[in-house]
């Protein structure tokens, strides 16, 4: 049984005392920051990145993964207790979770979210473990033309599933791809778009860019005058669901887990899409749809299970194909490159301890979250009363320290300041930054595979359509694009993605 030997390797790594400690710290810090409204997993990971610089690669990844689920879980807590989604994947949880809290059942809603997330986490971990090896071996068969088509498909799907006009999303992908060409051309050694700035010879760094756009620019936006938001908190009393609660939540958790596990693998899928889809599904299937929006426990259980499953299975394309399917995963690529790991199918064969250790630590992390969060809920709720004027300077400080420490150079700090202005411009133009970041991360690989495929075919571009696998991938991409541009589907998509 290959799976079990692999999992055994993973347990060997993940259960090392030091790695357990890093997973724990990661979950704790992730929750701590993720609880704060407006701070999603991406910002949380970006600002906590510097503390992993000094760690070994496996410890760093385990900790970052812990931060990711912690932030994810923290967001749900905020959604339930104060009706403010900490990040977009817990938006739907506010609908019924907050209603439950108003009926004095905040504790039950929180334990439902915890149970659902934990169960989903276990299943998703198994799914990753089972799917990783076969998918990676398929990926190893891929030649340059297949990789090229796969990345085109991934980028287009990610844009189809994000909101905003589709054509502008594609524009942002291309913009990101152009930015990614900064630095040395690997084939000829030519310096491109570097303007003789030595710090740009290695390319434009992803981390300061993400911090500028998602951290700083977001802060500027939040500081704009807006309506007063009041944080009302209440005592959390009974944490235990009743038998009736269990009877209603279990099928919802099972459905949410299945849906999330599948949708998480899709490019652009992940936690947000999963939770929305799960909520819709629960409402459709329920015999009491009128209760939704008034504190139906299925409305918490389903989406929470789905977003956690989706958050985890979105690691699958990253770990097996080297393809980040959303921005959080793109940041993980950045984190892996800092530790000199090139994400892709070869990670599994080259660093099995790291690979399987990371997978097992996902399960360990989920367990920790349950143990950690139920007793500490009161503390998290108190955190919400910290005024924003003290919070945002701290975020800026951590990001600045992280930027400088990347290379012990202030160039990255200036880069983040510039991208703060640029990010604010994007917010004002309502252009989605996520496709741009994916383009930035995948750009070099797209160019490399495109050039190699064209070299092998002696300059014949039809090769992308004559190889069956590559043609299939491009056909799926074309179908997705045609569907999105049909007016009827466009309107339903806009409805589904509306927050």
């Amino acid at each position: 049984m290959d799976l079990f030997t692999n999992l055994a390797i993973g347990f060997g790594t993940a259960l090392k005392l030091s790695n357990l400690a890093y997973a724990f710290i990661g979950c704790l810090l992730g929750t701590l920051i993720g609880v704060l409204p407006g701070l999603g997993p991406l910002t949380t990971i970006a600002m906590l990145l510097p503390i992993t610089y000094a760690l070994s690669p496996d410890a760093a990844l385990i900790m970052l993964a812990g931060i990711y689920y912690g932030a994810q879980y923290g967001g749900s807590t905020t959604a339930i207790v104060v009706n403010l989604p900490g990040e977009s994947s817990s938006v739907v949880t506010t609908i019924d979770g907050y209603q439950m809290a108003r009926q004095g059942r905040a504790g039950v809603a929180l334990s439902t979210a915890a149970i659902g997330s934990f169960f989903a986490g276990c299943v998703a971990t198994l799914a990753i473990a089972a799917l990783a090896a076969p998918l990676a071996s398929v990926a190893l068969q891929f030649g340059p033309k297949e990789y090229f088509s796969l990345m085109i498909l991934g980028l287009l799907l990610a844009t189809v599933l994000s909101n905003g006009p589709f054509i502008e999303g594609v524009g942002m992908i291309l913009f990101g791809t152009l930015l990614s060409l900064t630095g040395t051309d690997v084939n000829t050694g030519t310096q491109r778009f570097a303007f003789d700035i030595p710090q740009l010879f290695d390319g434009l760094d992803f981390v300061p860019l993400a911090m500028g756009i998602f951290g700083f620019a977001e802060i500027v936006k939040n500081l704009e005058p807006h309506e007063e938001r009041t944080v009302m908190t209440q005592k959390i009393t009974n944490m235990f669901p009743t038998r009736e609660d269990y009877r209603r939540m279990i099928p919802a958790i099972l459905r949410g887990t299945t849906l999330g596990t599948m949708l998480g693998v899709l490019p652009g899928g992940g936690a947000v899409l999963s939770s929305f889809a799960a909520y819709t599904l629960e409402k459709k299937l329920s015999s009491r749809p009128e209760e939704f929006g008034k504190g139906a426990i299925e409305g918490v259980a389903g989406p929470e299970a789905a977003n956690n499953a989706g958050a985890q299975t979105s690691f699958i394309p990253l770990l097996t194909l080297g393809l980040p399917s959303n921005v959080v995963m793109a940041l993980m690529v950045g984190a892996m490159t800092i530790h000199n790991i090139q994400p892709g199918p070869q990670v599994m064969t080259k660093n099995p301890e790291l690979f399987w250790g990371l997978i097992v630590s996902m399960w360990v992390g989920n367990l920790m979250l349950v143990i950690l969060n139920l007793p500490l809920v009161g503390l998290w709720v108190k955190l919400l009363t910290i005024p924003y004027r003290y919070l945002y300077p701290a975020i800026i400080v951590f990001c600045c320290i992280g930027c400088y420490s990347l290379k012990n150079d202030t160039f990255e700090v200036y880069e983040a300041a510039l991208f703060c202005i640029f990010g604010y411009l994007l917010i004002k133009l309502q252009l989605p930054p996520a496709p741009m970041l994916l383009g930035l991360v995948l750009g070099p690989q797209i160019e490399e595979n495109f050039r190699r495929a064209m070299l092998l075919s002696r300059g014949d571009a039809t090769v992308f359509f004559t190889s069956p696998l590559s043609a299939t991938l491009l056909a799926i991409a074309a179908i997705a694009v045609i569907m999105i541009t049909l007016p009827q589907i466009r309107s339903t998509r806009e409805e589904a993605l509306k927050e």
Binding site: P50, D185, T188, R192, F193, P393, A394, S405, Y424, R451
Partner: protein, 164 residues
Amino acid sequence: MLIRNQRAFAAGALFLVVSVFYFLMSFKYATGTAARMGPGFFPRMVAILLGAIALGVLLSSLTPRAKREKLEGWDVKGLLWIAGSVALFGLLLAPPHWFPVLNLFTSFGLVFALAALIIISSLASPEFTWIGTLVSTAILIVFCVGTFVYGISLQFPVWPILAR
């Protein structure tokens, strides 16, 4: 001519500027052939694609059926405080040798760079108070120096170093 969708028009203009810039820049690098591409081939290809998208966005923002959207106003003050404080942090941590006055120091050290960063970025908040800001500055500096310098040994000059 009336621009119905000002937001989309501005977005299209941004795309157009970027694509023209990269298109022209790409001629500085060898093009090569389709089979043996030079460094200029792929950038030019992407720039042309982006140019096409830019035109599409621009034109559709002008059609009579376009959604009416205005450009949002900018909070320039907040933006300058935040971006400026970040840039100042970099300047204080390692002043460039050509920068007047600041170049008397090799570094002002993490403590002073952080103090400037926190206080100036706090000024962007409409709810700014001096007492609260000074207290949070002190707490954050102690925490950062403790965690990052002494805790996980990131390389920072903590105190000012005079240039010689």
